[in-house]
Amino acid sequence: MKMDSIQAKLLLDRYWEGETSIEEENQLKEFLLTEEGRKSFPEASALFVFYSAESTLSIDESKLTEKIDDKSGGGSDPKVIPFNFSMFRKIAAVFLIVFGGYFVWQNVMSLQVSTDRIVEVEDPKEALRITKEALALAGFKMKQGDAHLKKSLSKLSFTRIIKHDN
């Protein structure tokens, strides 16, 4: 059955509404691909020409796979880079030696400086005199601290008595 432009118009309206069947769509497609259809409905015809052209496209899977292989490295087995543990061990050992050596050197040097500058008392009488002075100073300051503490406590208790009296 040949379709005229009026029937095509009605069918096209139903097509845009999504109410056409597959058979009706095929009929519409046939009409719009004709010369009359192109002239009557140029926009719809262009769309159906595009659909028709797209439906003929095919994918050559073998070529597609080749392209992917080309981009990913030629289809050979992927390279596995082994974790070179021994190399890292060597690097760690070198770091340890360098930093450890530096640390030891620093400490030994600082100890040398420290002991060089300290005067060691070698006379027991002089050592006794210095120790007694240091002990006396410590004791005196402790006594002073105790005195301050007692004074402060007595002030506190005095305040409490005044409050109690009031």
Binding site: V121, P124, I130, T131, A136, L137, F140, Q144, H148
Partner: protein, 173 residues
């Protein structure tokens, strides 16, 4: 290679433990180039020699305290070293508070004294008494050994040191 690493690791730990510095050493390191500090060290051996002194040279109370000491270090600044209070504050920052406990803080008009103790046992003794005195000058004194604080307090009354008694009188005024 393994042997070298093991040796070096042991070396590092040994030196680091040996190089653990006390407060005086730490402070001294800051001023090692300066001639404005005097430091005195009395070794355990010297304290043993003092302990062997006769009764005519040392009284019993002093001997009792000193025989339990194993070390004494004193670091003292002179006037040219600068403000003693500033040095005191600087030294205080270097004190490891996990190591030392503050026993007492005595404030005067012109000086500040901190008593710090190191105690590793539950006995009546302490392992180290550290005094930090800041004023016109700065002094750091570290007593190491088995120290009875009460005995030091009593001893101070019996030891006759020039000038100490005047300090006591000043306090009464």
């Amino acid at each position: 290679m393994k042997n070298i690493i093991c040796f070096l690791t042991i070396m590092v730990f040994t030196v680091s433990s040996y190089a653990q510095q006390d407060a005086i050493d730490k402070f001294f390191q800051s001023y090692k180039e300066s001639d404005n500090f005097t430091s005195v060290f009395i070794s355990p051996k010297m304290f043993r020699l003092i302990g062997n002194m006769g009764d005519d040279e040392i009284d019993a109370d002093t001997k009792d305290v000193i025989s339990n000491l194993t070390g004494l270090k004193i670091l003292s600044s002179n006037e040219e070293a600068g403000d003693g209070m500033a040095l005191y504050n600087e030294a205080k920052k270097m004190i490891d508070t996990r190591e030392y406990e503050i026993l007492m803080e005595v404030r005067d008009d012109d000086s500040l004294v901190d008593f710090l103790v190191k105690d590793s046992n539950n006995e009546n003794t302490i392992d180290e008494l550290l005094l930090m005195i800041g004023g016109k000058e700065f002094t750091l004194i570290s007593f190491v050994g088995k120290i009875h604080l009460n005995k030091i307090g009593k001893l101070a009354e019996s030891i006759e040191i020039d000038g100490i008694e005047h300090l006591d009188k000043l306090d009464d005024n």
